[in-house]
């Protein structure tokens, strides 16, 4: 079985994981969960609610700040994994899905800026259109088309981000956490061979 229960939800991890740098992946996932939850509330209630009511402003702000936290933690997670060379030991796909989810998240955040329905979104869209058009993508991806950008923001890109992040987490569970350079020079010492100690 690729994912036995003790691998999907392990209660023990290698001793080298007892460092704060390893918490930023799960902080990123938690932030993403809040982004999706608050986004669903905003979609249910609609713009006349989030633009006007006090509760709407609050949830709108929660959506913004959970995105801020998401990128804050994700970039620190990226830095940590880069300096660990976390693609070692047959973890290339784990690294690649992380890169793609980062890029998809940038697109989701960008279309979110365009969906604010205020002067900020108008300014950003008019600034972005020339750059997008210069790539040729403007023929099918029009940043001045509010409806198209909103659909990308609340349907397509969230599906992409959620699927790739889910695959990323499953790959982390499948391949294990990359060992430090001291334990193995090539990262081959994955969870089958790495020392399993109680790190709590």
């Amino acid at each position: 079985m690729a994912f036995p229960p003790d691998r999907l939800l392990p209660d023990r991890q290698p001793a080298y994981m007892s460092s704060w740098i390893y918490v930023f992946g799960v902080l990123t996932v938690v932030s993403l969960a809040w982004v999706i939850i608050t986004g669903c509330v905003l979609a249910i209630m609609g713009p006349s609610w989030w633009h006007v009511s006090t509760a709407g402003h609050f949830v709108n702000s929660l959506h913004l700040w959970s995105v801020e936290a998401f990128f804050f933690f994700m970039v620190i997670h990226l830095w940590g994994k880069f300096f660990m060379a976390a693609w070692r030991g047959n973890r290339r796909l784990t690294w690649a899905t992380g890169v793609v989810s980062f890029l998809a998240s940038v697109g989701a955040a960008f279309t979110g800026y365009l969906s604010q329905q205020n002067f900020d979104s108008q300014w950003i869209s008019t600034q972005a259109k020339d750059g997008i058009n210069a790539t040729g993508a403007g023929a099918v991806w029009n940043v001045l088309n509010f409806g198209q950008m909103l659909m990308w923001h609340i349907v397509l890109l969230p599906i992409v981000v959620a699927l790739i992040v889910g695959l990323h987490v499953l790959l982390v569970r499948r391949r294990g956490i990359v060992p430090p350079f001291e334990l193995t020079s090539d990262g081959e010492g994955d969870r089958e061979t790495a020392p399993e100690r109680d790190s709590a």
Partner: protein, 58 residues
Amino acid sequence: MSLAVLLGALINLNGSGRYIHWGFIQISVANFIVIILMVIVFVLAILLPFPRRKGGGQ
């Protein structure tokens, strides 16, 4: 005065943004502060000891 008004008065976000100009580099003060905070948190995450359970692992 509500707590939100009190906290909101600390930093006035209603004005135009402030930017740092350094040669060809231009970045908003807000983005610059966020990047500095990320670097600080990254360094602290590496340096600060992680709490361990008594009698736990090595």
